[in-house]
Symmetry: C2
Subunit: 256 residues, 2 copies
């Protein structure tokens, strides 16, 4: 049995708690949050506390607190030389206080409080300072049914950056399509199967191979008409920039 | 039984053929392509031809040919006053020769020859000149298990434009993430669950509600670090433009 002490009661902490709860050979022995009331729904099934001094012994302490709080909370831990991991994609491993053995347990997924996530499909990126600690994280990954990936600091920060492209920026393209179609009284639902298929395609093809459309075909007539249709200057600029990007990727030489 | 004569043997024609084949109350009575050899795999199950003069009678003629060929092929049809539809998101309904009753049967999805698509999940956008013709398309939609949407020309062209944003441009963001992560020897597979989840989220939340991340939070420290990480000027420009777009959408006032 691997014992875990969980700190924080936000999105990540809650999803980790639920995933550990149903996993064999893993146990949350204590759940800390500075605001105890957030843990009230769980107080009959796990030991909860809002007193950092009362933390019990565990194989791993997971600090699933806001990026800005990681340094401070890690400093306030009332013990030394135990294994402590934060869950952030961007915060340095060195922000964790050096009195303990430091690690990062970064689940690369977008979690919201009210949307269930199949945790076994979440890739867990692991960074450690002492190589020997990889073993326990691999065991936790296995118990959760997750794939784990050993990465270094630069790779984790690159993944965090890449995640902005495939998550936040992609979602903004959905938003722009929503605005454009709303303006013509079109039900956004019509676009949803295409959104799903676009995501599904890169499961089997590289994004390079999956590309289609007027930019790649260099269909100037369509591109011109699309630019004319766009009423918003900002949308027009995004259309032009991403069209140029596709054409560069696919070696379309284009003197317009 | 609604009888259909199919023209063209590309992506769309092939997917439509397969969908009709398994549908009750629909039948492809003849399949035309200028190159007969493309139809060879089907010649034992359906009447095929490469002679436009030999087209038989049918309730509907679907012209699933290249955008540029629609006008010419519709002109060469050897009959009048029958129902003829093209399948393009961008070509005008008036490009169809006026000797027949004109319509558009636009399946809003991205089809590739080698990737199966669940046709029943494809929204079919219908445009007609004579209102009475809507009925047969609704019946075809029902037989295929598809949702059909009656739209006008402007709406169809807006959907085609929106599709470029959610499909081609989104796929280019995946491509950029692939480039960025490849450069640091990161397996692109790590990002795939996030790609799926981003698409899945807009099934239940509007893109506005689904947004998260440094741009929306106006997390200047992270944005600055990301821009520093980006080595490619074009990627940097896209990052800045989409960050500004998110901030505008979410009313982040930002004097950097
Ligand atoms: N959300 C995601 O999709 C996601 C994905 C991967 C990684 N992460 C990382 O996971 C970590 C937690 O994110 P989250 O989304 O779970 O955040 P969250 O929902 O905002 O929750 C933040 C938690 O941190 C606690 N906290 C904040 N400041 C604190 C302080 N000064 N002292 C003690 N506790 C403090 C909060 O306590 P109160 O309840 O008392 O406010 C709360 O329990 C972050 O490092 C984040 O970068 C998030
Ligand atoms: N692919 C998609 O995802 C998609 C989605 C929605 C709508 N559409 C629309 O569906 C239509 C067909 O697209 P597609 O992807 O199926 O194209 P495709 O795979 O390239 O197939 C084009 C077909 O048109 C025929 N054709 C081309 N020029 C012709 C001519 N001058 N005379 C007679 N036949 C000609 C070709 O015949 P050969 O076999 O002899 O070359 C081929 O059968 C287009 O209007 C397109 O805009 C496509």
């Amino acid at each position: 049995m691997i014992t875990v002490c969980l700190l924080g009661a936000g999105n990540i902490a809650t999803h980790i708690y639920k995933a550990i709860k149903v996993a064999d050979s893993l146990e949350v022995v204590q759940w800390y949050n500075r605001t105890l009331s957030s843990l009230a729904p769980y107080k009959n099934e796990v030991a909860t506390t809002d007193k950092i001094k009362d933390l019990v012994e565990a194989d791993l302490y997971i600090l699933a607190v806001s990026d800005d709080a990681i340094s401070e909370v890690s400093k306030s831990l009332p013990f030394n030389n135990r294994l402590v991991a934060h869950t952030s994609g961007s915060v340095s491993i060195h922000d964790l206080n050096q009195k303990n053995q430091r690690a990062v347990f970064y689940p690369l997924q977008s979690f919201s409080k009210n949307l269930d996530v199949d945790f076994s499909k979440v890739p867990i990126c692991i960074e450690v300072l002492e190589k020997a600690n990889i073993k326990i994280f691999k065991a936790i990954g296995t118990a959760l049914g997750c794939k784990t990936y050993k990465i270094n600091t630069e790779q984790r920060q690159t993944l965090h950056l890449s995640a902005v492209f495939v998550n936040n920026f992609t979602n903004q393209l959905y938003r722009i399509a929503h605005e454009i179609s709303d303006a013509k009284s079109i039900n956004f639902d019509i676009l949803k199967p295409l959104i799903q298929e676009t995501a599904r395609k890169v499961e089997v093809l590289s994004p390079y191979m999956a590309q289609t459309g007027p930019a790649k075909r260099n269909d100037k007539k369509t591109i011109k008409r699309h630019l004319k249709q766009l009423e918003n200057e900002e949308h027009k600029a995004i259309y032009e920039m991403l069209t140029a990007s596709i054409q560069k990727t696919h070696g379309v030489t284009n003197k317009r």
